[in-house]
Symmetry: D2
Subunit: 308 residues, 4 copies
């Protein structure tokens, strides 16, 4: 499908439903995609951090892409993360995604090794021409250890095929400065990774969010996006606070390296959408924390949702 220019709206980073650490839950995936599409989301992002992309085996990544593209049937754009320590695997995965009908790939900075900004830009310049799909750059320094700085993004934005930047740094100052720097490129998309910053971003000129919580309550995030686009400030404040409550209630349970991931999978399981298996190095939340999540879902009216 033709991607909107700029790409905008709510694009949930889809968790990968698993029956076991290396076994895809195809039925769960079907329910999950149906649920978020019914909520009005504007695209899907596969194999991001929330999708445990880097943790999945090369085979499972491809299975997921194939099934997700099949299930989605072009109703919204499908973006696919290709993060891997090996650029060869990234390129191969990107080609698979193109063949399977995905609409764009999402390119993070190298993980494992550290790069200077010069090295990062040169790497992107060598990598992008090897990718046949449009490219969304992805800044997630907490996991990759390498941040995209503004001048690097400005240069990378000139490369043919690079259509946008997703910032999951949580640094709203950098986001605002980048938006201003990009103001001469109206077709270039600037998305924010942190849903707690979705309201800020869209009110002040950003294009949307790759919001993990949109997997749990897609309509809430779509409503917030639309209210912000329409400048309905009172409604924005109300919905923004609901987003904050969801994120605080679900992602910050216990003391874990990736609470957001554990919380979302646990919630989806309690909502009857998919199983809560996680790929290594993680395991599902324990019983006590599971009950905490259940209580939060109940408060938010998310337990009784009918999926499809």
């Amino acid at each position: 499908m033709t991607l909107p220019s700029p790409l905008r709206g709510i694009i949930p980073p889809l968790p990968t439903p698993l029956l076991a650490p290396d076994k895809l839950d195809v039925e769960g995936l079907d329910r999950l995609i149906g649920y978020v599409l019914a909520g009005g989301v504007h695209g899907l992002f596969l194999l991001g951090s929330t999708g445990e992309g880097p943790s999945l085996s090369p085979r499972l990544r491809r299975e997921l892409i194939r099934h997700a593209c099949r299930i989605t049937r072009g109703r919204v754009p499908v973006l696919t993360g290709i993060t891997d320590t090996s650029a060869e695997e990234s390129v191969s995965l990107a080609q698979f995604a193109a063949d399977a009908g995905a609409d764009a790939v999402v390119v993070a900075a190298p993980c494992y090794f550290r790069t200077t900004q010069v090295e990062l830009l040169e790497h992107i310049r060598r990598l992008v021409p090897r990718l046949t799909l449009p490219v969304l750059l992805y800044n997630i320094p907490i996991f990759t250890g390498n941040a995209f700085e503004i001048p690097t993004v400005m240069e990378a934005a000139k490369l043919p095929g690079v259509i946008g930047f997703k910032d999951s740094s949580g640094d709203m100052i950098a986001y605002h400065r980048m938006r201003l720097a990009l103001s001469g490129r109206p077709g270039f998309s600037l998305l924010v990774g942190s849903e707690e910053l979705l309201a800020d971003a869209v009110l002040l000129g950003g294009h949307g969010s790759v919001a993990g919580g949109a997997n749990l309550d897609p309509r809430l995030y779509v409503d917030l996006y639309e209210a912000a686009m329409a400048g309905k400030l009172a409604e924005v404040r109300l919905l923004h606070d609901r987003v904050l409550r969801l994120a605080t209630g679900i992602y910050r349970v216990g003391s874990y390296g990736a609470g957001f991931l554990k919380g979302i999978k646990c919630a989806l399981s309690l909502m009857g959408i998919c199983g809560e298996a996680l790929a290594e190095p993680y395991v599902p939340l324990d019983g006590e924390h599971r009950e905490h999540i259940r209580a939060r879902l109940e408060e938010m009216g998310l337990l009784g949702v009918t999926v499809r």
Copy 2:
């Protein structure tokens, strides 16, 4: 072969000779292994950080293991890194290494996602039983983002098959404290990753070093190890300073994310051992820095070495 208990000595982290970012330089590998074995090293460590292991494609990793095991012919133990963001790929690579005749695998903390110490230990407990070869744990928080803390190592050391710990944190206080904590386990190997700390480690009871510089001047590192083992302090000081000069002269050229890697590959190329191609995200040093490396090698008498 039967591994020594504890594993000890100088075990160079072998760079992966490449003709291109995804093409193994088999002849260079042959020369490199011959060169370091002639220098008396006590083992080889494939696919570590210096070996660009995480950056290589799954196929190339296996090619390297196969050729390195073939070339080494059991003369010294061959250890193989299995670092990958996907535990499934790590397990698969470990099985390949076992089948190819490697002697041990080297297991780092998960890279990409962050783990608490509890999560890290549980992950190791699930992973180790899936590996058929002995396991050396590998602490390199600068690249993985996850550090092994002492209580975690103490627990992991009790797992069958876990034979040692390689610390590349550069934190000598932690190393000393760990050695003391491990004093009841005399067969458990405690290696230091940083060659600048080899003298400290061995003088005060450690077992050796995975020293990158041992690829350039293996005899120097073996001599230093032996002098430290023998308590010849005057000789240790002399050789320690030569190691410092080599490390400073070769690894800290220019401003790069992984100067040690670029410097070693450049030096090996200038010494006629193998090509200087690097896997993504890196490229070889530029001409000016190459000349700097050449001058350092000349000073250290390493340019005229006859390889084999």
Copy 3:
């Protein structure tokens, strides 16, 4: 004077005009206070980071407080930072400020030593009763090395005399979460330190900003604050972008440890308001960077301002 409840609006962190590293520029101070008050600011914050408070000698800090209170004559509230590595000096300075007519003190976490959150809260609980003026807490982890986390602020907010929290962490997610957590305390002020986040903060329910740029163009910041309060989104976007341009143009000149401070002092000097001397460990910008600042001021129409 009675402080508004909650304290709100634009409260510039006043630079300390100096004739030399340890010599107050009293005339410059007079012009500076006159200038920002004419711009409509809602208060003054002395001896913050922008005021070089920690760098000034104990004597100079007191001189500044005395003169600033005298010049301000109660037209707006005067807040005084009391940051020092010694709590005794902080308490003494707070008493001086109370006697001189200041309206509140601003209390940062301890600098130099690190505290856990438990230690930080207990320290605040011992410190606050020793202060006679109302207390605004101040989160600036980049300089103190100690961050206030949300539960700590929630507990501290219950102490008699604690009237608000100024967050200069730049972490907008934390700011939003804190605002939500504080929603039951409508008299408690939540200010944002980073002017690049002023629009976000006020649009979504925050109370204002301690904006360094308000020293250079007070009217711009007051206008932005008022537009955000009134929900005039189009105007907010326009003014927000002007703030971003000012901050990027003035604070990020050259490569310095505290570019914002050097940039503001240089700009004030070029605008004829006060000298550009800085206290140790800093010195004024060099000529080239000074010309850069001049060009930015010219673009923004700030060079020709008539001061009073």
Copy 4:
């Protein structure tokens, strides 16, 4: 007194005995100095981090210097920290120390504000000529937030009056590299702050240590220093392990921001040397942790020591 060149040996960073957060325990100070001098230490370092220097009021700092110089009576060199966020207070304190008979001052990088290496060097160049006593530079980035890098130290070492460098970074690679870089300046002292690295440092050519544990068992540290100087490796290993046990047992009790400080004060109190009061932001260890310290002291035979 004339300082040895280079300054060497064991120089304990003296805790400041307090009866209350702002009240000096003069008798405790007398006992403490007597105790460490009887143990053979080679100097005293007042107002370091272990001395809570930055936390003490300006008045108390001066009281301590005056009494410590009086009690020491020139038997060993007295070094005085002058760390403060205000360079003016540092200079004033240095002058007081000179007048009181101290032998050197210890100059850390600025705390609170961040400096680039260029700014740090320029600051040191302006500061040193204002100090009348010899200067030992002090690298403690964990507290100041600013590290001395090797080229900066090399330049600062050329300034008249700068006699040495104390590295409390814990980075032994940097220490070794700095020692090598300084090899042309045999009179320049290179001390290590971390006692766990004392053996490494002295065995490989360093000059000694500012070891906190030397306040508890001065003879142990002096013996280790002398054994390392004499190259008695077996003895070094034995004593090094005792130092590690002391440091692990006393400094890592509970979860605190400055466990070393709390542990040492608690131990000194249990040993009957001085009270355990601490300056803000800290308070003494609680009862449970106190019992833990008591048990460790008993194991190490330090409870029954007769002081003087």
